[in-house]
């Protein structure tokens, strides 16, 4: 639509009011300007002005032109902006006032700083124009020296002095360390156009001082529209070494010059780390290439190590061999460093496969010896053997027995790892032509470790393993080896004594005890063993009905100082009581029974002690009925206190006491009613004695009372709880065992840890095959956080009733239900078959990428060449 002079709208009359006239479509113009559409805004404003011709419409048009000129300047069209500015300035009377700030911009764009700054020397300069010039200085002026030397301003003009001071400070902070006083810069006003420069100078100084927090604080204070703000992303890149923002060439160059090329490598490594987290091959491979390229430039000496780490990470993710090797630019070196990394990586994985890990540690050992890390028979080699043996302790014994044959049949070794290796690496592998699978035998590993570095802990581990997993001959062999290697240790002698005693070879046992006594007669273990052996020997003679020998034994027992401690004399009298029962002397037997009652302070305790002494002597039920009165179930003295006291006595003399079946109900009742004040050891022993006759409810009640006591004994009662739980409470028992071990760790109580481990191993060995074991979550680490530990403790303390609901067996493990974010159960609940072990081991020989996908897990293979 065209408008001409004739069709102009009459201006509404606003005489004497001073009010401005509303312009038709003015809002549309302002909307267009707000959206940055300056050209259509100018067109529309021109049409409006043609139509109206009012001062208000002219002002609107000039504003639209001003926006247009700014837009042209922003896009670099300086000449066009200048021409338009001059045209508008010439044509419209309103332009002089409304285009003042735009005029400053146009002058600045011409690059003529003097022309831009000259008006500042005029004290009568309008405030708007001054502000406009200062805004340009703040946002566009990067050349401080030009400002400092600007001839258009007097030499003492604040802008010149501030620029000169900043210039000096900038040079100082980028040349070397500076004192804080150099950063005060009183010449620079914090409200002036160069205030952001002052902040930048400080930020740079803090950056070089490695005070990154202060530097970052400074960067946040810089006006984002100011010229110094251009350095913010560069400084942030150098602070964080991150690849968050792409920099211009000068920025990249500054980063390289300040941080060296390491920053590119750091950024590449961070990107690779993020790619590994995605586990997406397409993202990982290009980042591997970038990281390797950056490392070649920045740290060529680290290249091989980086390759090895990337190789192991890629193996862990089961990435295709050839692609990774191509990205790495060649195979990583399979030296000791690689094998150590690889074995450790597999060992710390969620589902470690112990035989393969041992094979990897063996590769490490070979290379480490060849590379001079340590000698073949060094302490390091011994420690490694011991470590491998420890790993194998987690494999069930029946799986261990078949392991070497399965391994030999299906696993051909790591030959493919060596195909692209330098001769020096291949030579190491070639040296071991004869296949020796010693690393799959804990016995062989312990033997090697103990031969090289004989010490107590190693022999203890070996003996514990042999005692649990082999027959007595193997365990005796270990004890004999221990005694030969460390003849001053009494422990192997005590073991041999106990072993001989169990087989009824009392003469041999006595001989071992005498040797131990010669070594260390004051050792509490030796003293305890002497008491136990004499008690066992007395029991044997009682069973053999040889009272004259019993008399000798009792005389020897009474001569032992350790037999006179606590309630032990009462048990000696109980043995005498059994001897008189065998002799048929009812009067003397009754007198001894009374004496025991006096010593133990309770007739119930006396009866309990005699019941167990009688069991040891092999008395018949008729003997008991004749010589031992029935205990009253409503005695004045507490049944529970008496039983607990005698339970401790049984532990003291090394006799496996049991509680008469008829007492269980009464004991449980008293215990749950809180009758009798028992010490923690009494409670624990009572629980243990109850478990000997499978009285789990009674043991459970003892654990309830013990846990209520709290304190240092919590671990012992958690372990008692684990033992007392019904068979089907598998997960809850595991939680109790784990919590016991964690508490034991924290309180440095190795005996409770060992007891808990024995219980755990006992459960593990009940599993039928390797894959039951794999699936049984026995892999889990026993370590617990404080929160987890407290949660288990609280749960057990609150669970005061013996569990009777078998349906509870299907619940999720306690710790998982409480602490795992993802409670989604594994859908892969198809059981493994025994054939799977062959399949798995066979797969180890297949190159990656050719294997069938396995739902459950994949194995480290020997086709990993990168």
């Amino acid at each position: 639509m065209k408008y001409n002079q004739e069709t102009r709208l009459p201006r509404p009359s606003v005489c004497d009011t001073g009010a401005s006239v509303p312009i038709p479509q003015a809002e549309e113009v302002r909307d267009l300007l707000a959206k940055g559409k300056t050209k259509p805004a100018v067109e529309l404003a021109k049409e409006i002005h043609k139509r109206c011709g009012w001062p208000e419409s002219e002002a609107l048009l000039v504003d639209a032109y001003a926006a247009r000129i700014r837009s042209l300047l922003k896009t670099g069209l300086k000449e066009e902006a200048k021409a338009l500015f001059e045209l508008v300035h010439e044509r419209y009377s309103a332009a002089a006032a409304r285009l003042a700030d735009v005029g400053v911009l146009v002058s600045a764009a011409k690059g003529n700083l003097e022309e831009l700054l000259r008006p500042l020397s005029d004290p009568a300069l309008p405030q708007e124009t001054r502000r406009a010039i200062e805004n340009v200085v703040k946002g566009q002026v990067c050349d401080l020296s030009a400002v400092a030397q600007c001839a258009a301003l007097p030499a003492d003009h604040p802008l010149r002095t501030a620029a000169a001071a900043l210039l000096r400070a900038f040079a100082t902070v980028t040349i070397g360390p500076v004192e804080e006083s150099a950063l005060v810069l009183p010449e620079v006003s914090h409200r002036g156009p160069l205030a952001s420069w002052k902040t930048l100078v400080r930020a740079i100084a803090y950056f070089y001082r490695q005070d990154d927090a202060a530097c970052e604080h400074g960067l946040r204070m810089i006006d984002p529209d100011s010229a110094p703000a251009r350095l913010i992303p560069v400084l942030r890149t150098m602070l964080r070494m991150s690849a968050a923002e792409r920099l211009a060439p000068a920025g990249d160059s500054l980063v390289d010059r300040v941080c060296g090329s390491a920053v590119s490598l750091r950024r590449a490594l961070q990107a690779l780390e993020s790619a590994f987290e995605t586990r997406v091959q397409g993202k990982i491979l290009p980042e591997i290439q970038r990281a390797i390229a950056a490392c070649e430039v920045a740290y060529p000496e680290l290249l091989e190590r980086l390759r090895q780490h990337i190789s192991v990470r890629s193996l862990h993710l089961d990435l295709p061999t050839r692609k990774v090797r191509a990205a790495l630019g060649g195979a990583s070196i399979k030296n000791a460093y690689f094998w150590r990394l690889y074995a450790w990586s597999e060992e710390s994985s969620r589902e470690p496969l112990v035989p393969i890990i041992c094979a990897q540690w063996e590769q490490f050992r070979r290379h480490a010896v060849a590379e001079g890390w340590f000698g073949e028979n060094s302490q390091e080699a011994a420690a490694l053997y011991l470590h491998m043996a420890e790993l194998l302790l987690e494999v069930p014994v029946e799986t261990l027995e078949r392991l070497p044959s399965n391994f030999a049949a299906h696993f051909s070794g790591f030959q493919t790892f060596y195909e692209d290796q330098p001769p020096v690496i291949r030579a190491v592998e070639a040296k071991y032509k004869k296949r020796d699978l010693y690393f799959l035998s804990p016995s062989d590993l312990f033997e090697r470790a103990c031969r090289i570095d004989p010490h107590r802990e190693a022999f203890e581990q070996w003996l514990n393993w042999a005692r649990e997993e082999s027959d007595w001959r193997a365990a005796d062999h270990v004890a004999e080896r221990w005694h030969q290697a460390l003849p001053n240790h009494s422990q192997p002698l005590l073991y041999l004594m106990e072993s001989a005693e169990k087989r009824g070879a009392f003469n041999k046992a006595t001989a071992f005890l005498e040797q131990a006594q010669k070594l260390d007669a004051l050792n509490p273990e030796v003293r305890r063993a002497a008491l136990r052996l004499l008690v066992a020997q007395t029991g044997r003679h009682l069973r053999q009905r040889k009272p004259h020998l019993v008399e000798q034994d009792l005389a020897a027992l009474e001569a032992l100082p350790q037999a006179q401690v606590a309630d032990r004399p009462a048990f000696l009298v109980a043995l005498r009581w059994a001897c008189e029962v065998i002799r048929g002397d009812a009067e003397l037997a009754s007198s001894f029974l009374s004496q025991i009652g006096r010593l133990l302070g309770s007739s119930a305790a006396a009866i309990f002690a005699c019941e167990n002494a009688g069991d040891l002597a092999g008395l018949t039920r008729a003997d008991f009925d004749r010589y031992l009165p029935q205990v009253s179930l409503d005695p004045a003295d507490s049944l529970i206190s008496a039983t607990a006291r005698v339970s401790v006595l049984g532990d003291d003399v090394g006799a496996p006491f049991t509680i008469p079946t008829a007492w269980h109900g009464g004991l449980w009742q008293e215990l749950t009613n809180g009758q009798g004040e028992l010490a923690s050891r009494q409670l624990e022993m009572l629980g243990k004695v109850a478990l000997r006759t499978n009285q789990k409810e009674l043991a459970y009640a003892a654990s309830v009372a013990g846990l209520e006591m709290g304190g240092d004994q919590e671990a012992r009662f958690l372990l008692l709880r684990a033992r007392a739980l019904p068979e089907w409470e598998i997960e809850r028992r595991d939680d109790c065992i784990a919590a016991t071990i964690e508490l034991g760790r924290r309180r440095r109580d190795m005996s409770i840890i060992n007891e808990a481990m024995e219980l755990w191993r006992g459960r593990r060995n009940a599993l039928t095959n390797f894959f039951d074991w794999l699936g049984s979550e026995n892999w889990h680490d026993f370590s617990m956080t404080t929160e987890e530990l407290n949660a288990v403790l609280q749960h057990e303390k609150h669970s005061r009733r013996f569990p009777l609901d078998r349906h509870a067996r299907y619940r999720a493990p306690f710790r998982e239900t409480v602490f795992l974010d993802d409670a989604e159960p594994e859908k892969d609940d198809e059981p493994f078959t025994l054939d799977d072990i062959d399949q798995l081991v066979a797969e180890m020989g297949q190159p990656r990428g050719k294997r069938q996908k396995r739902v459950r897990r994949d194995l480290p293979g020997q086709g990993d060449l990168f």
Binding site: Y208, Q210, G260, L269, L302, H309, R340
Partner: protein, 106 residues
């Protein structure tokens, strides 16, 4: 479960570097270095540094623990950045020109 105890210092840190002893240093040399470092970083003045020094010494003083540490000291799950030497964090003074070049760049 692993029966070995891990040190409080990071696995990728070399206890020998912390004490400043060469790889082939024996018990005597390790002890001397430890005492020297403790003098420089007393528990009251530099508790954090002292803890690290003590942890490093705890690893190195026991030959068996020292050996075990050697096997487990390369952490395959440690960030790849930890492979870079500490000197990779150095910041070089360049003078004002490269800084001003960034400001001048269009």
């Amino acid at each position: 479960m692993k029966t070995h105890q891990r040190a409080k210092i990071q696995l990728n840190e070399d206890p020998r570097e912390i004490l400043g002893v060469p790889p082939d240093a024996g018990d005597e040399r390790i002890r001397e270095a430890y005492l020297q470092k403790v003098k420089e970083n007393p528990p009251d003045g530099e508790p954090v540094a002292f803890e690290r020094i003590r942890d490093a010494y705890e690893i190195l003083r026991d030959p068996r623990r020292r050996a075990l540490y050697m096997f487990l000291s390369a952490d395959p799950h440690a960030p790849l950045l930890s492979l870079l030497p500490a000197s990779s964090q150095e910041r070089k003074f360049t003078g004002p020109d490269p800084w001003l070049a960034v400001l001048r760049e269009k």
